[in-house]
Symmetry: C2
Subunit: 202 residues, 2 copies
DNA sequence: AAACCGATTGACTGGTCAGTCAGCCAGTGG
DNA sequence: CCACTGGCTGACTGACCAGTCAATCGGTTT
């Protein structure tokens, strides 16, 4: 039981997924051929289809894998005892750290799924909007407890908050704004500061 | 000289562009074949290539046409005598009105260009970031005059502001949030209120 | 009325790729 | 030592479609 006798020496499936991250990030989903993924993974063309139903399913898997982490993070933040503002800070921090930890994966997720809700992302709209809803819930709770002002719709505030963060990531991805470690740190507090100081009663 | 003798009865070029808006909005750029555009326009396949170098140039033209209006609007707002906050309100208002006036075109621009900076939008990054810069300038001026607090980087604030608006449009586009007339009106003030009350000194 | 010219047509082609499939090979069990 | 099994291989194919081009049309000029 030390090792599954059927387990290959290296996990080729994982190897393919990791290669796909790099290639998708470099060329974009539409411009990458399945052969590019196989080459990058150092694996035969056909093996991609052994593990995945289609090219799209590879992207699918990458997205779901990470997005579920985000959903968990947001829901955990929500169910904590922290202040609404601290909860939002946690969410912003998680997303920024995700980018810092694996910028290529986040680039793929944002560019090819989240911001491509037309073509590919359409499939994932439900998952995507679950994140918006969870954030909206944090805001709504804050409003109920009096920590946030009530004249701004929670759903709108949630979209603004998430939109601001994603735009920042986009700025980093396309090198429109500086992306040093201190910029990442700043970003976490900045987004929350900007949004919350607008949400909190004066 | 009353009418150019070479001008056709109907402007076929325009007809093709308008058809492209509808088809791109419905199917997305990648999923639309040139034949779809021609059919929708009620025009022969080859005529598209008479007026445009490629399918991409059609999208190109749609984007540039409208983005230049946005740039003008932002720069005009900036050069007015209004308060920084009012300037931002003008910008937000212009974008919201653009969507209200022609949601299909705005959908195409956002989904296929602005939020697709990887594939197609890469070409337009300079134009796109000019808008961010102009907004940042408004913020920076506000900071210089003391209307805005100075501990939030103007570039970051600009990205947050624009990101918030675009996310709202995305929400309307994909029917994640309600899009009635009153929602549009609310949105204009909401975005500015959210961002500015966070930017203005307390 | 004949030459001219830009607008318009749509059949055709060349290239590209996603996905298939027939079989290979390494490790395991009999 | 042979049969078996499942991960693994990569040449091949069928479909699709952007872009080309030779031909036609309708109005203008000489």
């Amino acid at each position: 039981m030390a090792a599954n006798p059927k387990a290959p020496a290296v996990d080729k499936r994982r190897q393919i997924l990791d290669a796909a991250i790099r290639v998708f990030a470099r060329q974009g989903f539409h411009a990458t051929r399945v052969a590019d993924i196989a080459d990058e993974a150092g694996v035969a063309y056909g093996l991609v289809y052994h593990y995945f139903k289609s090219k799209e399913e590879v992207l699918n898997e990458l997205f779901s894998e990470r997005w579920s982490l985000l959903l968990t993070a947001v829901e955990e933040a929500d169910s904590s005892e922290a202040s609404p503002r601290a909860k939002l800070e946690t969410v912003a921090g998680f997303i920024v750290e995700s980018y810092r930890h694996n910028p290529e994966l986040m680039k793929v997720i944002i560019v090819e799924v989240t911001r491509a809700a037309n073509s590919f992302g359409r499939t994932h709209l439900p998952e995507i909007s679950r994140a918006y809803d969870s954030i909206a819930k944090i805001v709504a709770d804050g409003q109920a407890s009096g920590a946030f002002r009530r004249d701004i719709d929670a759903e709108f505030a949630s979209m603004s908050f998430y939109g601001a963060i994603e735009q920042l990531l986009s700025g980093w991805i396309f090198e429109l704004i500086p992306a040093s470690d201190s910029d990442f740190e700043q970003a976490k507090t900045l987004v929350t500061a900007t949004i919350c100081d607008g949400l909190e009663p004066r």
